[in-house]
Symmetry: C2
Subunit: 248 residues, 2 copies
């Protein structure tokens, strides 16, 4: 039976992927993916066949992977971060209905929320909500509702796709919703280019974040009411009691 | 300057950790952690010094790591999954205030939500909320509020710590809250022993999940209104348009 691995390569390149992911890429003959992600792994897996499609050609990319596997090859579909978080896992399983003779195995990876949190400190230590601000595939009203509900429940919030050329003011619009429920002093942070050259973190208050300019390679973290800054790092306490006065 | 790595080893053992995590464990002299997690890595890193503390001795465990690093050793604090998600990162940075001469670096890992999702299929493809049902360190009222808000906003929900000896009915109580906002037919799933021997997944409706018995090694996934079952796997669509009729 032919096999496709759907592999999350982590936020950066080689050393941020799991050992299991690296073994799957070693084992396969063909690596399929979005051009940018294939370029990230190319040098580490010489001798493989590489097939790419540009952005917004996701269905075609999946069919390409299955077509190669149908020829008897072992194929890997690579995604940045984790393939199961705004990635290709779901689409692969859906397209896979047409190829019952090909088995699909997901290999998890470090998504940007997890990778970015490690750069900032420990913002996601407690309950959190992950929300994409891209309204390309989701109605904006649904995104607004999720922002409002997450803020009301005092979740830490991690935002993916906070900006793009066509959506320059989306982070500002999101902050305006959050500011209806949370104070302007709330601790926030951003990480750009996680695990890649140019990785950079920045701390903000929620009011400052509203005025910040971020790009599409940035992941945004909004603290909960307990989140604080410790030695320049963003830390959400879990609730451990150190003494009557101090909760960690 | 002495160094401590706070390392997420992923859901299972060796091959689910990142290459960077494995390199950090190779580099260090001393590995500190909760007994169960240290046992998971022990055989792969012979010749290291291993120090453990039992559950609920987390502050002591952190101080132990800093005390070893203060002797000039490179130390790794290991956590299962990711150290930044209900893990030791936050506590390490807090305790670290007393040790300014020791640098702390987080090395991210695959948390149970990500690892479990890969076993079930692709339940977390869209916006999701992560909630722990443990009220050991969080008031139950806060947990209830987060469940209610997440369900109202139609987030996919991933539950950590769904049960324990003292909290046998917590998953049932959580389902009762979710059922106020979501239909009983909602697609749900559980994964036990992710990435370890005995790994097992199970699909449910939300009504069935209410009656299910799960243990503390189980991670629970509650779909959003779009989540479906495709060839026995739990899949949340991202919103790609295949045709007028079909959304993937």
């Amino acid at each position: 039976m032919s096999k496709i691995y759907v592999v999350g390569i982590g936020p950066g390149a080689y050393e941020q992927m799991t050992i299991k992911a690296a073994r799957a890429l070693e084992e396969c003959q063909t690596i399929v993916g979005y051009t940018v992600y294939v370029d990230l792994v190319k040098e580490h897996f010489p001798g493989k066949e590489f097939l790419t499609t540009p952005m917004r050609r996701e269905v075609e990319r999946c069919r390409m992977a299955f077509a190669e596997a149908a020829k008897g090859k072992t194929v890997a579909m690579v995604c940045s971060g984790d393939a199961g978080v705004y990635g290709m896992s779901g689409l692969m399983l859906t397209v896979g209905k047409d190829y019952p003779q090909i088995s699909v195995e997901m290999i998890p990876g470090v998504t940007a929320a997890i990778g970015g949190a490690a750069v900032l400190g420990a913002p996601l230590i407690h309950d959190f909500a992950l929300i994409s601000l891209s309204d390309l595939l989701t109605p904006w009203e649904k995104i607004e509702k999720r922002l409002a509900c997450a803020a009301q429940a005092d979740f830490v919030i991690c935002l993916y796709n906070p900006s793009s050329k066509k959506r320059k003011d989306y982070l500002q619009r999101a902050c305006d919703i959050l500011l209806q429920y949370q104070p302007g002093e709330l601790v926030c942070g951003t990480v750009g280019q996680i695990g890649r050259e140019g990785e950079a973190m920045q701390l903000y208050t929620l009011s400052e974040l509203r005025e910040a300019s971020v790009d599409m390679f940035t992941t945004v973290f909004i603290g909960n009411s307990q989140t604080k800054i410790i030695d320049g790092r963003m830390v959400t306490p879990r609730g451990y009691r150190l003494s009557e006065e101090e909760t960690l």
